[in-house]
């Protein structure tokens, strides 16, 4: 496997409501930022482009087609799209670089969730015959998961509040975060229930925005003369959709992906985990085998702002940028998709 370098990453502010801005307007600033970081002019300077988005956020078939308008794809470019979080667009591009068919790639993810009711919209990603007609929303699934953990004695409500307090505190240093502040566990536990046992702050907010990344071979990164972090391994796994067949208190697919990329083969200095609900961070830490030596979600994570379809790629970008800045030598980034952590992607990154 060739090492692949991350040379540029940018994320927009997590906005609760981007108003009249369309997807192209959300994407263009982050593209300009990564071009600048990588020292390239435009999309014509990379060999491959891949994006991640979901039609249902915009409420239109082919939502990603308008995204192409942000690129300047004249003359025509080599381009692809996944109807998944853009972390999987990175995976497709990483494979492309492994084949030798590309030396560099541009990736982006975007989503404008504010016009709809995201948790209800996501209920339509369930089995269309048995589950979707029940309109079980994404928060209800997460609440069931949290309830099982509490009843098994695996966590306490204070553990969940602890995750939130740390997220809000870390987000103070993140200019793109939507929710930030200094809160005590006691203050958080005094808040009312939202969907029991979840309080509102246990759930990620709905955010509009985009992120972008440029990756390339290590040789290319040296040629460009830019600092970079290296993807040492990337793997993703899915597990059964049937919620009753899963042990919701574990993330088996994360464990499998972590094993495949060798998360445990060395110390992990920093980790960014895509945990849209506070208790899921605890599940993921365990599945990844992380201990208290690892700084988790220094950005505040997605509890501080969740760019649906971009947040997974953002986790990887966050770790890469921190490694480039010298905050650690080895990091892990995680992305998720589906109800109650059904599908998970794990990346191991190292400083240059």
């Amino acid at each position: 496997m060739r090492d692949v370098a991350i040379v540029a990453y940018a994320q927009s502010d997590c906005q609760g409501n981007a108003g009249a801005q369309n997807e192209v307007e959300l994407i263009m600033p982050v593209l300009q930022e990564v071009y600048k970081q990588a020292g390239i002019t435009n999309v014509q300077d990379v060999d491959f482009t891949c994006s991640g988005s979901c039609d249902y956020q915009q409420g239109a078939a082919f939502a990603f087609v308008s995204g192409v308008d942000a690129l300047g794809a004249v003359p025509p470019i080599k381009e692809s799209h996944v109807e998944m979080d853009a972390a999987w667009a990175l995976y497709e591009a990483w494979l492309k670089i492994q084949t030798g068919q590309a030396e560099s790639a541009l990736l982006y993810g975007f989503g404008k969730s504010s016009p709809g009711e995201l948790p209800i919209v996501l209920s339509q990603q369930l089995d269309p015959y048995y589950l979707a007609p029940l309109w079980v929303d994404s928060i209800a699934f997460a609440a069931m998961q949290a309830r099982m953990m509490l009843e098994k004695g695996l966590i306490t409500e204070a553990d969940m509040a602890e995750v939130v307090a740390r997220s809000r505190r870390n987000a103070l240093a993140n200019p793109h975060a939507q929710l930030k502040g200094e809160f005590s566990v006691e203050q958080l536990l005094a808040e009312p229930m939202y969907e029991s046992p979840l309080r509102k702050h246990d759930c990620c907010p709905v955010s509009d925005g985009a992120c972008a990344m440029v990756i390339c071979t290590v040789e290319k990164a040296k040629e460009w003369g830019k600092p970079y972090a290296v993807i040492k391994g990337i793997d993703h796994r899915i597990e059964t959709h049937h919620i009753g067949s899963r042990d919701l208190t574990r993330s088996v697919s994360t464990e499998l992906a972590a094993e495949a990329v060798g998360v445990g083969n060395g110390p992990v200095d920093i980790a960014e985990l895509y945990a849209p609900f506070s208790h899921q961070e605890i599940i993921l830490k365990k599945a990844l085998g992380l201990n208290n030596d690892t700084v988790v979600n220094a950005s505040g994570g997605v509890l501080a702002g969740n760019l649906m379809m971009a947040s997974g790629l953002s986790r990887i970008g966050e770790v890469a940028m921190r490694l480039i800045k010298g905050e650690g030598k080895r990091g892990v980034a995680h992305a998720t998709s589906g109800p109650a952590l059904q599908q998970n992607l794990v990346t191991v990154l190292e400083a240059q």
Partner: protein, 387 residues
């Protein structure tokens, strides 16, 4: 560098207006099981699944790969979902090929589907958007003006489209899986069918189908142990351009020209009409055959219709370069699968497994798909020879 990869199994469903006998999971499972059987493999032999389909609104299921993981035997394995508009079936096959060409995976399953009877594709494509003019016309209404411009520029006879509509349905009658079975179709019948979008008549448009297509792709070593003839993947290419920009050539799009040049170069093809034995090309509306004959370099610009009218693309007229021997998109169109069906049918031709629509001695074939406003392209060349 890229490792050699090959198609060792192909499975399809019967295509029809409504597959009421199966759920969406049952539909994809049927195609996938057929592909595994064709490859002489079982579910546990598969390392990863790559799923493709057109917009989720066609069935009303968001990211259906989540729900379909159980039906596709993917639990505990990697699942990826591709969506590149109408070209998606082809793009998905290309992404699946890259899993193996990268050396990361040895044997993968790729599946694409559409169960169009779950909704109405034309209206799923036409919901009004806040920042764009409302088209309200479906795909036929979008492409008809571009076809009229082709007819004007090339001085093509009015019945070139009718000829394609008949030819592809006669091909489809040789293929038991094809949705439309019209062995008695005539030029007059097509001409007398209602005009939908001038110059496209009802019988010059593709049907709306339920169906799925699947392929097993393996590395060189495993392909050599496979029971059937492998279809070696000799080249893959994708290109995209924006739907609209000042000066955009819509009749003969640059992205299609570039994509074809790229895939021919990889496969060592200099004269596509001579070097290829047949082609499965995405022709959802009759006139796109002469248009793509030019775009893909089989004919000079303005001369594609001459090739069509001469019978060169017809199996029944012993043409030298049969196009869409399976009956093509004009005979079966489960949108998200239609591109992969082109790629898979090209593979079946070079594997000698195309049955009643086999092109005698076919060694090298082109699979082609396009999508969006004729702006997304995916193509591959497969051959019975490694090259």
């Amino acid at each position: 560098m890229a490792q050699l990869a090959a198609v060792v199994g192909v499975g399809q469903t019967k295509y029809k207006t409504k597959r009421k006998d199966v759920s969406i999971a049952g539909l994809v499972r049927e195609a996938a099981q057929n592909a595994l059987d064709n490859a002489g493999l079982t579910w546990k032999d598969i390392d990863a699944v790559i799923l493709g389909k057109a917009p989720d609104m066609f069935e009303g299921v968001i990211m259906p790969e989540l729900y379909l993981t159980d039906a596709l035997g993917c639990n505990g394995k990697p699942m990826l979902r591709v969506h590149t508009a109408g070209s998606v079936g082809g793009s998905t096959a290309i992404v699946a090929a890259s899993y193996v060409q990268s050396g990361v995976f040895q044997r993968v399953l790729t599946v694409s589907f559409e169960k169009q009877s779950e909704s109405n594709a034309m209206w799923a494509l036409s919901n009004p958007q806040p920042f764009s003019p409302h088209l309200n016309a479906g795909a036929g209404g979008y492409f008809a003006p571009i076809i009229r411009e082709y007819v004007r520029r090339s001085n093509a006879p009015y019945d070139a489209g009718i000829k394609v509509a008949v030819k592809d349905r006669l091909h489809g009658a040789r293929n038991p899986l094809a949705h439309l079975q019209l062995p008695e179709i005539t030029m007059k019948e097509v001409e007398d069918s209602p005009m939908l979008w001038e110059p496209l008549r009802f019988l010059e448009a593709c049907p709306s189908s339920d169906g799925a297509c699947a392929m097993v792709i393996t590395n060189e070593e495993l392909a050599s142990q496979s029971p059937g003839t492998p279809a070696w993947i000799r080249g893959t290419a994708m290109r995209s351009e924006p739907t609209m920009y000042a000066g955009r050539e819509q009749v003969n799009p640059q992205a299609g020209i570039d994509c074809a040049k790229d895939v021919y170069k990889q496969a060592g093809i200099t004269d596509p009409r001579k070097d290829l034995d047949c082609a499965e090309v995405y022709v959802p509306f009759s006139w796109y055959e002469p248009m793509w004959l030019e775009n893909l370099g089989f004919a000079d610009v303005g001369k594609g219709w001459e090739l069509t009218m001469s019978g060169a693309t017809s199996l029944d007229e012993n043409g030298d370069i049969p196009w869409n021997p399976s009956g093509g998109v004009l005979s079966s169109n489960p949108i998200g699968a239609s591109g992969m069906i082109r790629f898979a049918e090209a593979a079946q031709q070079v594997r000698g497994q195309a049955g009643g629509h086999q092109v005698d001695g076919a060694k090298t074939a082109l699979g082609h798909a396009y999508g969006g406003g004729a702006q997304f392209y995916s193509m591959w060349v497969v051959s019975s020879e490694k090259g």
